[in-house]
């Protein structure tokens, strides 16, 4: 086993920022808006680094798809402990229509190229809330998947994943190579401290184009319109008659 883990990190609008819809309703305003690493991706990076610190795996590779600024997100992952980064350059119109299908194709291609043993992703991104990339990547690679992980342990050539499901917790054991997606309670991510950011500047980030990986970026979806959620209406006071009738 190569002992290499691929971690996907996505650059999203910071969760505390108030989102504004563009005047032409084609999307949201992103220019100059504060962005940060998707919180679930931070948890994924932390889990990968923890596995490396336990000496269960040998190398953590951080991957991000996007424009030039995606490199900042990769740097943060490097500062948290990833060994090297891969920046898949997607910009302009392609980036606007980039979705889980294209990203999972890219990750599948990279996993084969890098001979990854494990792919750890966040369960979903906080901007689109798709919750699809991990599952699609596993399907494309025909690998088992352990999604919504709140606990991950490597046991030989298998992975034991405790999953958070509606009914409670489900424990599964899957073969490697596998895809795992991180849920909130998996761990508490460490801070990317300044000395580590400075060290991360020396770590390598490779630049790759989707075409080099043989991935077609055309989207199967077309966004027709983006609107703000409807304004909350005031509630209505119900009559007390109803409750008496029911009892």
């Amino acid at each position: 086993m190569s002992g290499r883990v691929l971690v996907g990190v996505k650059r999203v609008i910071d969760y505390a920022v108030k989102i504004r819809v563009k005047p032409d309703n084609t999307g949201v305003v992103t220019d100059g808006v504060k962005h940060s690493m998707n919180p679930f991706c931070e948890i994924a990076v932390e889990e990968a680094v923890k596995l490396k610190e336990k000496k269960l795996i040998k190398e953590v590779v951080a991957v991000s798809c996007g424009p030039q600024q995606a490199q900042e997100t990769i740097r943060t992952a490097l500062a948290m402990g990833a060994d090297r980064g891969i920046h898949v350059e997607v910009a302009g119109k392609d980036y606007e229509t980039l979705g889980p299908l294209q990203v999972s194709k890219i990750l599948a291609a990279l996993a084969k190229k890098e001979d990854a043993q494990l792919i750890i992703l966040g369960k979903q991104a906080i901007d689109d809330d798709c919750n699809q990339t991990g599952q699609m990547t596993a399907a494309l690679l025909d690998w088992p998947q352990g999604t919504f992980a709140s606990e991950v342990s490597l046991e030989g050539d298998k992975v034991k994943v405790v999953r958070e499901i509606d009914g409670g917790l489900e424990t599964i054991k899957i073969n490697t190579p596998a895809v795992v997606t991180a849920d909130l309670r998996l761990n508490t991510p460490r801070y990317a401290t300044l000395p580590n950011i400075m060290k991360a500047k020396k770590k390598k980030i490779a630049n790759v184009k989707p075409a080099d990986l043989g991935v077609d970026l055309t989207s199967r979806l077309e966004v027709l319109r983006v609107d703000e959620p409807p304004q909350r209406q005031a509630g209505m006071k119900g009559s007390t008659e109803l409750s008496r009738r029911d009892s």
Partner: protein, 622 residues
Amino acid sequence: MFPASRYSSRAHRCIRALKTVPTDHAAPQLYTTLHRRACSSVSAPRITTHYTIHPREKDPRWEGVEMERFGDEADVVIVGGGPAGLSAAIRLKQLANEHGKELRVCLVEKASQIGAHTLSGACLEPTALTELFPDWKERGAPLNTPVTEDVFSILTEKHRIPVPMLPGLPMRNHGNYIVRLGNFVRWLGEQAEELGVELYPGYAAAEVLFHEDGSVKGIATNDVGIAKDGSPKDVFERGMELHAKVTLFGEGCHGHLAKQLYKQFNLRENCEPQTYAIGLKELWMIDEKKWRPGRVEHSVGWPLNRNTYGGSFLYHLNEGEPLVALGFVVGLDYTNPYLSPFREFQRWKHHPFVAPTLEGGHRIAYGARALNEGGLQSIPKLTFPGGLLIGCSPGFMNVPKIKGTHTAMKSGMLAAEAIFPQITAESLDSETAGLHVPEYAETLKNSWVWKELYAVRNIRPSFHNYFGLYGGMVYTGVFYWIFRGKEPWTLKHCGLDAHQLKPAKDCTPIEYPKPDGKISFDLLSSVALSGTNHEGDQPPHLTLKDDSVPVARNLTIFDGPEQRFCPAGVYEYVPVETGDGMRLQINAQNCVHCKTCDIKDPSQNINWVVPEGGGGPAYNGM
């Protein structure tokens, strides 16, 4: 009457006070109610957990925790990524390239990205920018809106008195540009990075480091991973030390490290205390029909009374969309503790001269920041062994012009020019380990910055007369417009802003109108628009030197002015859970880093320290 043993000492004092209140007092009911409210039947709850108030050396929870810090060396370290800090960094690199020298310049900034904590009107005078980058237009500096119309008004409750903007008046904006300062600072950051400056946004300078001889050695960034109760978390890590030959402090108005340096090096012994104002600002997308790009509007008067300094601004930007930047400034030497700068701003927007511009539009951003008003009289000693102060931190704002960006940039550039020969000299000829560069203060005094500030030095203090605003305007008309500030005297300010508040019992509460949700808004929805957030599980960075003072003094005498002057709703007086009385609740996560509380707290008990880097507002082109 009262069983003596059952009550705390505070209750004893309260009971004695109740018994001795004279019966012919003006408002006995109010006075005793205030007293009763102030005496909680429980002792002051612990509010402050920050290690600057409760040192970790004596704290058993910190025993055995690794406190070693990683350190690194640079030639120059700059604290603060605003116009002053970035201009200094750029100038240093320009000089290094000109002379073929290698220079490591590191800049730390507490905001998560450069420009995210920047807030200003702003009408930029491009003089300093043209000196720094003569080709700023080709480089794409975001100065897109030249001023085309300049309107000044004195407002009354329903009407407006126009004041002609004659050439020579300080407020005239001919030749200036309306900018979104956050975008301008971001552009400066890009220029700095291209020149090779190491920018580190998201890392706050939390501590000044000293050599053994007392000179400044550099700074240390904030520790991370301390829990709300002050104990270490699993993810605790020490900040990093950045050492430099010279450290430039450009923290902006009322910087927290500058506050420490003033005490350490006694930099304020020969100047007046700094006086301040709070500026609140909103960005609005308005109806295209109302949009007049390049139009600058200023007003004074309503809703402030003639003895409260302040006024408004409304600028129509020209960046492709009908955006206006508007805001309100209130001098922090106001005397009525019931005054709320936020609510004055909200009610000003309803004035018949202002509201039509905003009708049909919607608000997209909000923020607030304190600004300097002290001018020349309040500039401290600028240099000390190992460091110097630049920008709004010492305070070079031209108050009547309401512009401080051009002088801040020039101070940064002069600092760079003064320190460059010394840090690149073959042999360091210095008495102290940290370099002392008094040449910076000399060149500043001989520059246009000083001449400009000298000419307007008496305008702000001239407002302290019986006629208030009108006296000040007459003074400006005579002594500035006609005599160009050449009068031989220099007027003084009134002392610390914090000491200007009158007790609540001597003042009348102000009836503010309810926000209508279309033009005026409530505080919490405004704070949400600033995008401010902080890691929740950290000690509140609004530290109190004494936890009992807010209820015992601020609430009792001044009716808790911090609940009104904070533009982010950080301070609230809430009833205690058991028993009677009130306690101060600090919602540190709302803080927008304006520094008003540190300035205006009448007990000077609040000490703002920097929270974990990356926290704070997320302004976008403010």
